[in-house]
């Protein structure tokens, strides 16, 4: 089930809805936020510790690790093997034919007896 967001009541609604079932408002279709193939799947990636483009009206998502990383910087999140080409959740979809369906479903493991991931500058390389 693909969920967009109602522009009026801000609830998530099925992208197939003609109008928000909760208030009758307009449902904004979702962007597909994908992780690029070859990216090491880490909690930081799943939990949004990646790019979040400016200018999106419908989400308060901010880059978790500070300022957005320029697209051509070559920087990657902690633990990733390659660049993460995430797009803002409610922006334009990526053209990414190779995305893993399993990763699409994923919305991040956050075991309640666990801890938030460390900041990207913690600990350096593995011993």
């Amino acid at each position: 089930m693909s969920l967009g967001m109602c522009l009026d009541c801000r609830r998530h609604a099925r992208a197939s809805e003609l109008a928000c079932p909760f208030c009758g408002g307009t449902v904004q279709p979702p962007a597909v936020r994908r992780v690029a193939p070859g990216t090491a799947l880490t909690r930081a990636v799943l939990l949004g510790a990646t790019l979040s483009a400016a200018g999106c009206d419908f989400t308060s998502a901010q880059p978790v690790y500070g300022a957005p990383i320029p697209a051509d910087s070559g920087a990657s999140d902690s633990g990733a093997d390659g660049d993460v080409s995430a797009q803002p959740v409610y922006g334009a979809p990526l053209v990414d034919a190779g995305a893993d369906a399993a990763m699409m479903e994923e919305t991040g493991p956050m075991a309640d007896y666990g801890a938030p991931p460390p900041p990207p500058d913690a600990g350096g390389d593995a011993r």
């Binding site: 009026d8 801000r10 949004g48 995430a86």
Partner: protein, 430 residues
């Protein structure tokens, strides 16, 4: 000062001895494609059940070490197996992880294999020496548990002075260069001071704040007057969402726990930056792995031992347990048919699949119907009703046990319903 929790329940021991690990559990003969598809990227590992606090809400009734905790070599082997299975990050917990003499050796092993290593701690004994050893070993962050301001925290932790000790632990971590975060439970007795608590934590310099609702497992289920009523998520979730925005402005990341949610008008604030833009379904046995100190393997560290241990690392490989044990497979097998009650016909059933299985199972005795849900509470509010909980059966008094509650529906009081509707944003925004 009067203890906000009142006297501790006397009917059960504070720190019972855990039963020996369940051994030689059955595994399926075949590995299915879906079992190969999922690999844990995040493990939470209770390396000992020994603890130096006596938290009134402790789900694992921690205090005494388990009778058969893994040896150092067995721990090293388990680390190696987690690496082979694809784990990227491990959080060490207890009890209190630093009460194991070899805890920094375990940290070193994890880091030597390139995995991220963090720890969750009550902080009582996290002195400068321990922090230096942790830094040397490569520990990358510590989440300190803070349950309110001083009096409230000490009451919930069961030890006077524990609040000050926890804040001192943060100072020690800062001194040695280990970043620290905090984790806070939200319940009836501390909800009013959560914003002030968060403010204090931001001032201390946390890099992140994990927040979840106190869940009815272990000692938490013994306490009367601690657990939120399900309808109180209509107050708790907007508060947490507001604090998310405060945190964003202060560069402190808020991580909503698995029982914080779901959907409703605040989901995009809480999780809009996540890969799916909103919460999905439980990741136990798909992306998360839980380990008990005796080598018992679960899909999530929070899940009750009795129902969700799939095997023991002394009997089978981690890979075999992960792929072939029924308890580790349960979310891979989850469908709408495993839901019941409100969740079965919920608008978000396909996506959510009953929310946090831990929260619902330890409350009602089985997963699949989660009353602590903002969407659910607000939809019931449209009908003029709300849900509260009532205990039916007490817990037996073992680590990771649970009482049985029932959910009672009742009319919203007339004097409160209008304000509740406004806060739930049941009417379209102007």
């Amino acid at each position: 000062m009067t203890n906000p929790l009142g006297p501790r329940p006397k009917s059960l021991p504070i720190a019972p001895k855990a039963a020996p690990a369940k051994r030689s559990l059955p595994l399926a003969d075949e590995v299915r494609d879906v079992d190969r598809q999922w690999r844990p990227i995040y493990a939470v590992w209770e390396i000992t059940l020994a603890c130096d606090l006596a938290c009134r809400h402790c789900g694992s009734r921690a205090g005494k070490a388990r009778p058969d905790e893994l040896t150092t070599e067995q721990c090293f082997d388990l680390v190696d197996q987690m690496k082979d299975l694809g784990v990227k990050e491990i959080t060490l917990i207890g009890g209190e992880a630093y009460l194991r003499d070899d805890w920094t050796d375990i940290v070193k092993r994890i880091r030597s294999l390139g995995m991220i290593c963090t720890m969750t701690s009550g902080g009582r004994g996290l002195d400068l020496e321990r922090c230096k050893a942790a830094k040397e070993a490569g520990l990358q962050s510590v989440s300190i548990s803070i349950d309110g301001l001083e009096a409230n925290h000490d009451a919930q932790r069961g030890v006077d002075g524990s609040f000050r000790a926890a804040l001192e632990a943060m100072d020690h971590l800062r001194a040695v260069g280990i970043p620290f975060s905090a984790n806070t439970q939200v319940n009836k007795i501390n909800m009013h001071e959560i914003p002030a608590t968060f403010d204090l934590l931001c001032e201390k310099g946390i890099h992140a704040w994990q927040v979840q609702l106190t869940t009815a497992m272990g000692r938490a289920g013994d306490e009367t007057g601690l657990l939120l009523e399900p309808y109180q998520v209509l107050d708790a979730i907007p508060m947490i969402a507001a604090l998310k925005e405060v945190g964003d402005a202060r560069k402190v990341r808020l991580w909503p726990g698995n029982n914080v949610g779901y959907f409703g008008p605040y989901e995009h604030t809480l999780r809009g930056g996540w890969a799916g833009g909103h919460r999905g379904s439980c990741s136990a046995g798909r992306r998360t792995l839980g380990i008990e100190a005796d080598g018992s393997i679960k899909g999530c560290p929070s899940l009750p031992t009795k129902d969700y241990v799939g095997g023991n690392i002394r009997d089978n490989s981690l890979k075999d347990i992960w792929e072939r044990s029924a308890p580790l497979r349960f979310t891979r097998n989850q469908s709408l048919d495993t839901l019941h009650g409100f969740c079965r016909t919920c608008y978000y059933a396909e996506e959510c699949k009953g929310g946090c299985n831990w929260t619902s199972h330890v409350l009602l005795g089985k997963a699949g119907d989660q009353p602590y849900c903002h969407h659910r509470a607000s939809e019931l509010l449209r009908e003029g009703v709300r849900e509260r909980i009532q205990k039916k059966t007490a817990a037996p008094g073992e680590p990771f046990d649970y009482a049985i509650f029932e959910v009672i529906r009742e009319p919203w009081p007339e004097g409160e319903i209008a304000a509740a509707r406004a806060k739930a944003m049941l009417d379209p925004l102007p």
